[in-house]
């Protein structure tokens, strides 16, 4: 085989390899874009579904708040009831605010990194600047922020608990006994002042936000 023949064999192979690499990269990009597209569609669908009951909730609560007396035969509704309506209205408005912010957050990102960065930015700015409250506490003063005082091990346990994992399953996943898992769980609840798993989930969501 001459040197020229040898080269003519090599070049096409290199080109083929490059083309294969480009093809793989393109395929990966397409999959990534398809996933982002699907995520957007899901988010839009969820938001669309949530905005319907939110509209009804807002209208009902505002009407009850402003015209409560008419619904009870003309008498004033008790203060305690008015407080509850006020709180329910505030919580509903909070959810509306979240939906609004989510919509703004994801307005024009063109890639995953930008979308994630904008998400983080929005969450941080919202947590720091808004006067949104969590169960009546300003977010900055929320007792839930003691979440940061958990040990790394307790963070792991908390993630499993809030994910719906049982003591037995949690212990198995962490390579510890169910009893030890339960002890971690008790410490976490004591540190966070949680009464039950629902409280823990709420606190975790509050932290994420």
């Amino acid at each position: 085989m001459t040197l020229t023949n040898f080269r003519s064999n090599i070049v096409p192979r290199t080109a083929h390899k490059l083309a294969a690499q480009n093809f793989n990269q393109l395929q990966a990009d397409l999959v990534s874009r398809a996933r982002m597209w699907a995520a957007d569609e899901v988010r839009a669908a969820i938001a669309h579904q949530l905005n319907e009951p939110l509209t009804a909730l807002l209208l009902y609560l505002q009407e009850i708040k402003e015209r409560g007396g008419h619904f009870t035969g003309g008498g004033a509704i008790p203060n305690s009831m008015q407080d509850m309506v006020e709180m329910a209205l505030r919580e509903t408005e909070r959810v509306c605010d979240i939906m609004e912010r989510l919509g703004n957050t994801f307005e024009e990102p063109t890639d995953t990194e930008t979308a994630v960065a904008r998400g983080r930015e929005a969450i941080e700015s919202w947590t720091l600047s808004s006067n949104a409250k969590c169960n009546g506490y300003p977010l900055s003063a929320s007792p839930y922020t003691v979440h940061h005082h958990l040990t790394p091990r307790e963070h792991e346990v908390l993630a499993l608990i809030t994910g719906g994992t049982s003591n037995k399953e949690g212990g198995r996943r962490m390579g510890i006994s169910p009893r030890t898992f339960e002890v971690h769980r008790a410490h976490i609840m004591e540190k966070l002042g949680a009464r039950n798993v629902v409280d823990l989930v709420r606190m975790t969501l509050s932290e994420v936000r």
Binding site: A44, A47, H48, N51, E52, L58, G103
Partner: protein
């Protein structure tokens, strides 16, 4: 009495609107889908139509176009709970399209009672508009 037609497949929203408008002295008729909505609108006299853009069978945009062509004097409020833009491509601005097709006012869900009343007021001549403040003071 102001007659309002609400075309929305979400009953929780349309019933809430009906209740709110009843207290403002409006007679509100509900249509759960496009067919009933179009039939009701064209067989009776209404002062205002509220149309959700995403409803089964016929989309709200087509309804708005049809209403505008057949009853150009009746104000139309377009509503939608869809608001997210897709990160991969520009999402259609449905409320903008509704306005182009002749919607008098566009309401994004969720909206407040005040926003609903403001929307309705903006559709009418001030002389016949419903006014919550004025009514409350009676």
């Amino acid at each position: 009495m102001t007659r309002v037609l609400v075309i929305d497949d979400d009953q929780s929203v349309s019933v809430a609107i009906q209740l709110m408008l009843a207290r403002q002295g409006c007679d509100t008729v509900l249509a759960p889908d496009a067919d009933v909505g179009v039939q009701t609108f064209e067989s009776s006299k209404f002062d205002l139509a509220m149309v959700d853009i995403f409803i089964p069978e016929m989309d709200g945009l087509k309804i708005i176009k049809r209403f505008r062509e057949r009853m150009p004097a009746v104000p139309i409020i377009a509503m939608t709970g869809f608001r997210f833009r897709n990160s991969m491509a520009p999402t259609l601005d449905f409320l903008g399209m509704a306005a182009q097709l002749g919607a008098t006012y566009c309401l994004r869900k969720p909206f407040t009672l005040q926003q609903l009343i403001a929307a309705i007021n903006s559709c009418f001549d001030p002389a016949i508009s419903i006014d919550r403040t004025a009514e409350t003071e009676k």
